[in-house]
Symmetry: C2
Subunit: 249 residues, 2 copies
Amino acid sequence: MAEHFESCVTQNLSHHMAIGEQEARILSELEQAPSKVKKGHELWKAGTRPDQLYTLRSGWAYSYHSLGEDSIRVLDIFMPGDLMGIRDATLPHHYTTAAMLTDGVICPFPTSRLKGIFENHPNLAMGIHASAARQQAVITDRLINVLSNDARCRIAHFILEIYYRIKRVHGDLGSGFTLPLLQKHISLALGLTHVHVSRILKALHADHVIKKTRSEIEILDLTCLHQISNFDAEKFGDKMNPLLVDERG
Amino acid sequence: MAEHFESCVTQNLSHHMAIGEQEARILSELEQAPSKVKKGHELWKAGTRPDQLYTLRSGWAYSYHSLGEDSIRVLDIFMPGDLMGIRDATLPHHYTTAAMLTDGVICPFPTSRLKGIFENHPNLAMGIHASAARQQAVITDRLINVLSNDARCRIAHFILEIYYRIKRVHGDLGSGFTLPLLQKHISLALGLTHVHVSRILKALHADHVIKKTRSEIEILDLTCLHQISNFDAEKFGDKMNPLLVDERG
DNA sequence: CGTACCTTTGACGGCTGTCAAAGGAAGTGG
DNA sequence: CCACTTCCTTTGACAGCCGTCAAAGGTACG
């Protein structure tokens, strides 16, 4: 809480591995230019060349893929500490569009500097690769969720995914916390209609499992939520494959 | 066809970027021990530590996630040239189990050597990262597919995904080709029942779009297949973000 | 204070899952 | 080469989850 010498990304990457002092300095350089952005601010557009990555220092953001004019699907939910844009960094064009869900602070840095990091800081390169792999794991997990579960289970699973991701960064939080996702966003992330999401949330409230309001959520019965979602919290561990970590740290 | 001096992975990675001679030598070392494996052979098990990566030299393989005893979901379909196991390489435990769909030849190499590659061959490290990102793109695309489309469209989309992946490696193939995926596998990859997959395949045949037999498939009307799936073939380009490629090559 | 957006509710229909059973195709052992 | 088993594919009847459409009530925001 007290120290802010650590950059946001350092905090993120150090979940996975030991970060040396020099490496921490490199990383903090990446966050030189924090800028305040407002809700709705667009970070990048689908089809453009990925020339900036961003770290999210405060606020929430999301990315989506558009099909046709009015039809989109939500892919990523970003929260403070997340590295935004690595998914597409190596591709010639962005697959998604990304925008802020709330007001917040972001720190951009040029994609081209990834090259230098890979050349001079293999340990960081591995960390970035690992962080990307972890973001992929979230998407993969959602694919499994959507492939396997009905609406009630999908929603329970999705909420727990977010709950544990917040918990990892914020430490233990109470049963209630901020969740600036509207029913619309949940439906677009899970392949449901907002009408049906409304029905399920209502039912989950009636069953004393969760209580979701416009911008917050309260988990009334965590155990029950687990039962409904058969969610495996262990997947979200931060540990790396020991075969790949540097022992000299 | 004629030259086999190039290793399988070299061929794969060189789709994305220029590979130097020395780097090619490093890569070919990775394929020192090709081994014949039979259909059904298990490459790795969920929950174990990822200590081997594999390149697939011939044959087909797949990975799946199991839920409960008899219930699984198919995640990856691997075909010759693919690097198998990078998804989980940085994680402490395999998320999936992987097995051969057909007889084939694989080349294992220890995960721990990734560390050396990241330390001494940044260009290769970037290539491996890019290759992983490309595999992620396939999964992400399937998530969008499953979130957005009905059964007929999902199946059309899935078939085109595989069609273009084969085409990229094998060059132009006729309208018919080997596809050792049973209706079971298709259903497990798309969140449908094998009964319903059977119904849709029958209908697509009746409409003269495709003709799928047990181990092969023939595309009767590619244009129509595209219309049904609204599949965007450009996503499967091999190019990298120009900001990250080494100009000295 | 008015407008736009979000949430809730109800009726209705369709896509797809479930169950069950029969017909083929592949693999195995004699 | 045949018999037998196992697994894959096909078909039909039926049910249910969830999408669609429509409208009203809430909540934020200018």
